[in-house]
Symmetry: C2
Subunit: 453 residues, 2 copies
């Protein structure tokens, strides 16, 4: 198949072309590696959705407009808090200018563009588009990815505020103001597809779930608990004496999400109407609202089995299971060590060996760097990396390994009020008795772009 | 002063005796160290309050009684969740038996005892008692301590469920079933006072505080935000055009708490009515409630100054400032390292030195142990230990030291929805612009007992 015909196939729109396109593209990609006389197929979508973030300026504006304040009031309010109105406005302008640049560049190439705000982005937009551009930062990319469940729909991230946003999931920052260059490379095939592996979740055993509180030892008074907790018992159940015994959800159900970064499992910090009430109180001025929280630092209890291994009871601050993409995100922060800690370990180690090991700053930096690098892996690796955050080891609980790779992780909740959080943005209840099965399959990949330099 | 007269002074009740008692006891204690012919004054309180925890069994009972279930239903419900009714009942009985044992032992000595449930414990009980016994675990001790602001009122912890509770703050477990032995030692002076240093908090700059959300990049739709946020503007402010400019709380105010373990500062995970609503929904059966949370993993932004040093901007998962007592609690879990991590560092270090260092399991264990031991310090040390949890280091944020000792720590919040959490149980709003000054003074100590073995 010649390059021209592949390009034509693509221009028909990905729905028609994709089954055929996917294989040839990959075949071509592979053959580029083997034989440089074959050129990689270019990619020129006909319809592109550009999903934009909401800037803080827009948010503040909306919020205070709602509250009836003027723009002047907004300025003063922000100044009083030590924030800068002009700073917010500037960042907002940078973002909107960059979005405009992207949109113009696309339209100049005859591409049909829809600009969609975060709140308007939905399945219909995903179906319409041949490709989706995320115009914002990593958070916007996560949002965009969350509605793309197919591995065929390309998603490209552009970092619209490089000074404020890390943009790990976005194109290199130089393309932000030089987007036509990025487009040219796409059209010419000077890029490669990066199929980022994602995580899927099955959940079972969530039948009756009355959100009880953790009684561990910090407890609310019973009166407060009573108000906060209810279980739903139908009248028919009450009257026919069957009680509440039947399990409703006993088969594992596949959750309608795919995680691009990580799944995090842990006790959440609130869940009661009590806390809801205290929010209203907090808005009042001139008083310290000493609102009693439900053990903000609450340990998570669960059982874990890695790659169908033996179940192990654990107690910790939570459990992270990440992808290669996510190994640079929250998991990275959980696991990395500061030079200060590395230095202390090396010092103690040195003192116990009797060797005269030179422990200068450079040495410590190098060891730290190598340690940290071992925490990240490739986004297209079909492995997951699990980490136990702040494990609590005592007479009852132990952990054999604090972290490692896995193809499959099963977790059984023994928590009172926990969640499974997907990519830091969506959460599912995960309470006592529920079992999550966490794995990766090829079909769940997200198709993204890496531009060749 | 002879021993007898000191004991008589004490028996008058601590209110009368304490100014005089305190100094002689300490003087005597000091002189015991110097000259063993002086005996330490015994301690025999006339009135003792015993504050008891609520067991999980009691809690479940109350909750389901409220919901109209029978004891049989309770059994089945718990069984279905994989929990054990008989297990809960057994733990409950162990606790109540231990409480009875304590109370009987006290009364047998002619001491006036009031048994007070957690929910009934208040300032009046504290004033009434010459000494307070916490009958539960560490959580109950924290509760008991939280209402004792004076350094004169002795607090003693007894671990009523040694198999389930660590009881770091309690007497050694063997006294749980042999409480008369503990009492005998107290009467004979075979103990020492341990004045545990506690932390005090000043807060300022909390004027206007409309609990905004973090827009960082993961954002709710504006509609959801609008409902969740309100600021309070009085009508007179609106009409007289002064807007909302005046700072209400500009002088630092001393908060009415003393921290026995630690202060933890960080972004909280929810604060909106939205989440409050989702709680009600979560009680329904048979559906996955995909409730959108507000960035459960949200970085905390703040500025920190240690011992009046230069201000440093930081971004992390939160900041812990602990006492010597607390150095064995949450701070310990934040900072400790697993053998797996220590081993990896030593391996990398070894590979870079070229030395032939034997890295066997025993060596790794020893290094890990020494590292971990460096994290704890004495409860009567008038120092605080600050730790930055999961620091995020990038172009903008840096941290010179991840942890260290301090006499004073100032933190300025740049957070959107953060709290200062005291001993994992009480929290204060700590949002953008607020400044906390964190320190220790002698007057805030908690008087506890260490029995000599």
């Amino acid at each position: 198949m010649t390059r021209l015909s592949v390009v034509n196939l693509v221009r028909l729109g990905s729905r028609t072309a994709s089954p055929l396109y996917r294989n040839p593209a990959r075949a071509l990609h592979t053959s580029v590696c083997m034989n440089s006389s074959h050129r990689k197929a270019g990619f020129k979508p006909e319809k592109v959705a550009v999903v934009t973030k909401t800037t803080r300026y827009e948010f503040e504006q909306q919020r205070y407009r709602y509250a009836g304040l003027t723009e002047e009031d907004l300025k003063h309010l922000l100044a009083m808090k030590g924030s800068s109105y002009s700073g917010l406005l500037e960042r907002h302008k940078i973002h909107t200018n960059n979005v405009e640049h992207i949109v113009k560049s696309l339209r100049r190439e005859g591409i049909d563009v829809r600009v969609v705000k975060r709140g308007e982005y939905d399945d219909e937009v995903v179906r319409w588009a041949d490709a989706i551009i995320s115009a914002g930062g990593d958070g916007t990319m996560l949002l965009v990815a969350s509605k793309v469940l197919s591995k065929d729909k390309p998603v490209v991230g552009v970092n619209t505020d490089p000074e404020r946003s890390e943009g790990h999931l976005c194109l290199p920052v130089r393309y932000t103001r030089a987007f036509p260059e990025a487009l040219a490379k796409l059209f010419r095939g000077e890029f490669r597809w990066l199929w980022r592996q994602r995580i899927r979740l099955y959940l079972e055993g969530t039948g009756i779930n009355p959100t009880p509180m953790d009684l561990h030892e910090q407890q609310l008074s019973l009166e407060q608990h009573s108000q906060a907790h209810r279980i739903t018992i139908t009248d028919s159940q009450r009257s026919n004496g069957t009680g509440i015994l039947h399990e409703s959800n006993s088969k594992p159900s596949l959750l309608p999400v795919r995680s691009l970064n990580e799944i995090f499992i842990g006790e959440s910090l609130s869940s009661s109407t009590h806390r809801g009430i205290s929010v209203h109180h907090r808005v009042k001025l001139k008083s310290f609202k000493q609102h009693v929280n439900l053990l903000l630092h609450r340990a998570s209890y669960y059982e874990i089995s890695v790659d169908d291994g033996p179940w192990e009871k654990q107690k910790s601050s939570g459990l992270s299971i990440c992808t290669g993409t996510g190994s640079r995100a929250w998991s990275y922060n959980i696991n990395k060590l500061a030079e200060q800690s590395v230095e202390e370990i090396l010092k103690i180690g040195k003192s116990k060996t009797g060797f005269d090991i030179p422990l200068n700053r450079e040495f410590v930096e190098k060891v730290t760097e190598e340690y940290i690098e071992s925490l990240v892996f490739s986004p297209d690796d079909r492995h997951m990396f699990y980490s136990i955050r702040e494990p609590i080891v005592n007479r009852v609980f132990s952990s054999s390994r604090q972290r490692g790779f896995a193809s499959k992780v099963c977790v059984r909740s023994r928590c009172w009020d926990a969640c499974m959080v997907v990519d830091g943005g969506t959460s599912f209840e995960f309470n006592d008795g529920a079992i999550a099965t966490i794995s990766m399959i090829e079909e769940d990949q997200l198709r993204t772009v890496v531009l060749e330099n």
